[in-house]
């Protein structure tokens, strides 16, 4: 249900309506103090109840595309974890449980939009056209997997927390200045990022410039071992938008329809020139931070079990079944197809041999420099000697 989160606010006044005193930048005792609301959006609850008022108008093919993308994202996540445990790739951050956020928000984007992510948004990257084997290459330590053909508007994984929010703002500014009126930017980050200065600078710049950015915070309650309540005293992350005079929306991050609808509405606003939006998508990190992490040191098993029961995949599947868009045979066919896709990706990844050892020297600068070339020659010479020494 789309309701007002009473915890977070004093009384009802739409956050999108700037209080006059604040808008004027003045201090005026004759005006009432500004009050704000945070919209909380859920469309499809855990029992399968539907809020028909906010239910997105998605065609059957789109709904199936969304569900299939989420199933693929889950399968890729499972396989990446297995490959890491088998020693076939390096450290991987995992996305299980975040499929609704990653895939439904990406479904709301168009081809001209920019995808600016961090490292827990694999489902979105796959929808943007990233081949599965590129994710495997990337997490096996190869730059060759960081981008993909056609991915000119999909930024590579950004590991430094919060830094990419500023890139999103700059991209949006450039798009507007260059007359790309249909282009917006969707930017992903986690709850931990909201403590970084770059988060606050990005929201501030975006708001001052009124650029078309949709900030999507995957609030999965954990930044490695730090729980949400130690990250910030704010009752919601969405309310941080209020300080920057932009709408803040809190959505159920395990409800793909709510994520889609919130992103869709924010993108529409952005394209109308009405500026940025902050969406807080609430979910839970049901797996470790990365494969190098052991969450049993800090997570409560009961809390984890509670969230595992709220899995976004069966929730959307049940909705499709209710709408008579999905049945067991389609599920079987999908599972088989996804397995085949992932198997093929592993085969492609593991058979790849065209790695140029001195490639890093090619991409230091866009111009040639003797220092780089001198060191490249030395590197290749030493590499030869190393292999001769066996």
């Amino acid at each position: 249900m789309k309701t007002t989160d009473k915890k977070a606010v004093k009384s009802a006044k739409k956050s999108s309506t700037p209080p006059e005193s604040a808008a004027a930048g003045s201090f005026d005792l004759s005006k009432p103090s500004p009050v704000f609301t945070i919209t909380h959006m859920q469309i499809l609850d855990e029992q399968g109840n539907i809020n028909h008022v906010d239910e997105p108008d998605l065609k059957p093919e789109k709904l199936k595309q969304l569900y299939e993308a989420m199933v693929l994202a889950r399968a890729v996540d499972d396989r990446l974890l297995k490959l890491q445990r088998q020693g076939r790739i390096g450290t991987v951050p995992l996305c299980k449980g975040h499929e609704a956020i990653n895939c439904a928000s990406t479904l709301a984007m168009n081809d001209d939009d920019w995808f600016v992510g961090s490292y827990r948004d694999q489902g979105g990257r796959l929808m943007r056209g990233e081949p599965i084997e590129n994710a495997m290459l990337y997490y096996n330590g190869c730059e060759e997997g960081a981008t993909f053909p056609g991915g000119e508007r999909t930024l590579p994984v950004s590991i430094i927390i919060g830094a990419q929010l500023l890139h999103a703002v700059g991209i949006a500014y450039a798009a507007r200045l260059r007359g790309e009126t249909n282009t917006a930017v969707v930017c992903h980050f986690g709850d931990g990022a909201t403590s970084e200065g770059d988060f606050h600078e990005a929201l501030n710049f975006a708001s001052v410039w009124q650029v078309p950015v949709v900030f999507i915070c995957t609030n999965n309650q954990w930044a490695i071992s730090l729980p949400r309540e130690k990250q910030t005293r704010s009752q919601t992350i969405a309310q941080k938008a209020i300080a920057y005079e932009m709408p803040g929306v809190q959505v159920d991050g395990n409800d793909a329809l709510a994520v889609y609808q919130a992103t869709h509405e924010a993108l529409e606003r952005a394209r109308r020139g009405e500026g940025p939006t902050l969406i807080e998508a609430v979910t839970y990190r049901v797996l470790m931070h990365t494969t190098a992490d052991d969450p049993t040191r800090y997570q409560e098993p009961e809390e984890l079990a509670n969230w595992e029961a709220r899995d976004p995949l069966p929730r959307l599947k049940n909705y499709l079944v209710q709408k008579k868009l999905w049945d067991d045979s389609q599920q079987e066919e999908l599972d088989a197809r996804v397995k085949q896709q992932v198997d093929q990706a592993v085969a492609n990844f593991e058979s790849r041999t065209d790695f140029k050892p001195d490639a890093p020297f090619d991409y230091v600068f866009g111009t040639e420099h003797h220092r780089i070339e001198e060191q490249r020659a030395e590197f290749l010479n030493e590499l030869n000697k190393e292999s001769a020494d066996g």
Binding site: W114, V116, E143, E144, A146, T147, G151, E152, L155, P156, S158, I160, A163, L165, L166, H167, A168, V169, G170, I171, A172, Y173, A174, A175, L177, R178, G197, D198, E201, A202, N204, F205, V208, A359, P360, D362, Y363, V364, F365, G366, T367, H369, H370, R371, I372, E374
Partner: protein, 326 residues
């Protein structure tokens, strides 16, 4: 030919590049209506409007981070850090992203941007307004670091920096901003980055410097030549990174003696890299140890003491004479 100071010459370069390419924009604190605290961007706001000459909120990381996004999406941002001493707040964006996106994406994405910043001492400014930390930026692979020394080369180098495909840190010696004027050719062409310039040819000793130190160094070179019967070669480094090995090595092979003059603290700075370069390429030609005249490894003192800590003409003269006599 027009006589310009460095502020005017940099302004002219910005104006010319913005007129030439509508994707060139400039952003920073007070660069718009106010024309910059040193007036480097004076008049650009009126001419190009607030969309291309952007008065940003006061946040250095925000300025560089958004510049990276702009560069990724087809603009050529010229960001101003009001003083180099405030620029460390954007170092994360520079090292973490601007310098790496080309490499991270194997050339699919590039970050052609310029970060301008006044640096260096000698203008009796408050703390954090007087340091020379070019080495901080020069140590980051993927970043070019350029320091002009005159109005003419400031204009030509900034033109090149704006047209360059990579992130360029353009450090402006604020002590030289209004110290002198010179004729600047109206048809200035961009100077190639990564090349040092032999300002004066000579056979007896090579003097290498850059930025604000070129002035006392040039005076010292003149003084020594007036006093002794020697020909000194003077090199203006211009690009700190990637450093021009060839010009340095060829000169020292010819002269066999070298003095390096650096405003920055001595250790781990460009002068150390120059000595290492000579070691790698011209050691057997040396007649004397390479001498360094530098700042000291101390926190830059407040301005009452600063002139004692910045290399002077006298210190350079003594170093040259001692190296010639070695």
């Amino acid at each position: 030919m027009v006589k310009l100071n460095m502020v005017q010459a940099i302004n002219l370069a910005l104006d010319g590049e913005m007129a030439r390419d509508e994707n060139v924009i400039t952003l920073g604190q007070d660069v718009g209506v106010n024309g910059g605290v040193f007036r480097v961007t004076d008049g650009l706001y009126k001419k190009y409007g607030e969309e291309r000459v952007i008065d940003t909120p006061l946040a250095e990381s925000g300025i560089l981070g958004t510049s990276i996004g702009m560069a990724l999406a087809g603009l050529k941002p010229v960001a101003e850090m009001q003083f180099s001493g405030f620029s460390y707040l954007m170092l994360g964006q520079l090292e973490g992203h601007a310098s790496r996106l080309r490499s991270r994406t194997q050339g699919m994405m590039t970050v052609p941007l310029v970060v301008r910043m006044p640096y260096g001492g000698g203008v009796r400014a408050l703390e954090h307004h007087s340091e020379s930390h070019e080495a901080t930026f020069a140590h980051v692979p993927g970043v070019k670091v350029v320091i002009p020394s005159t109005p003419s080369n400031a204009r030509a180098l900034l033109m090149a920096a704006i047209r360059d495909p990579d992130p360029v840190v353009f450090m402006e010696p604020k002590r030289s901003y209004r110290a002198f004027r010179e004729n600047v050719d109206e048809n200035t062409e961009p100077m190639e980055l990564g090349k040092a310039q032999v300002v004066q040819e000579g056979t007896d000793l090579t003097v290498i410097s850059w930025g604000a130190m070129m002035r006392p160094t040039l005076q010292a070179v003149d003084a020594v030549q007036n006093k002794h019967n020697v020909n000194l070669e003077l090199i203006d480094l211009l690009t700190i990174s990637p450093m021009d090995t060839e010009t340095i090595a060829e000169s020292v092979k010819k002269t066999g003696r070298c003095v390096v003059v650096q405003e920055a603290p001595r250790s781990f700075g460009p002068s150390s890299e120059i000595v290492a370069t000579i070691n790698d390429h011209a050691l057997m030609y040396l007649e004397a140890p390479v001498r360094r005249v530098t700042g000291f490894d101390v926190v830059m003192p407040f301005f009452e003491r600063e002139l004692d800590y910045i290399p002077t003409e006298g210190r350079v003269i003594r170093a040259i004479e001692e190296t010639l006599e070695f």
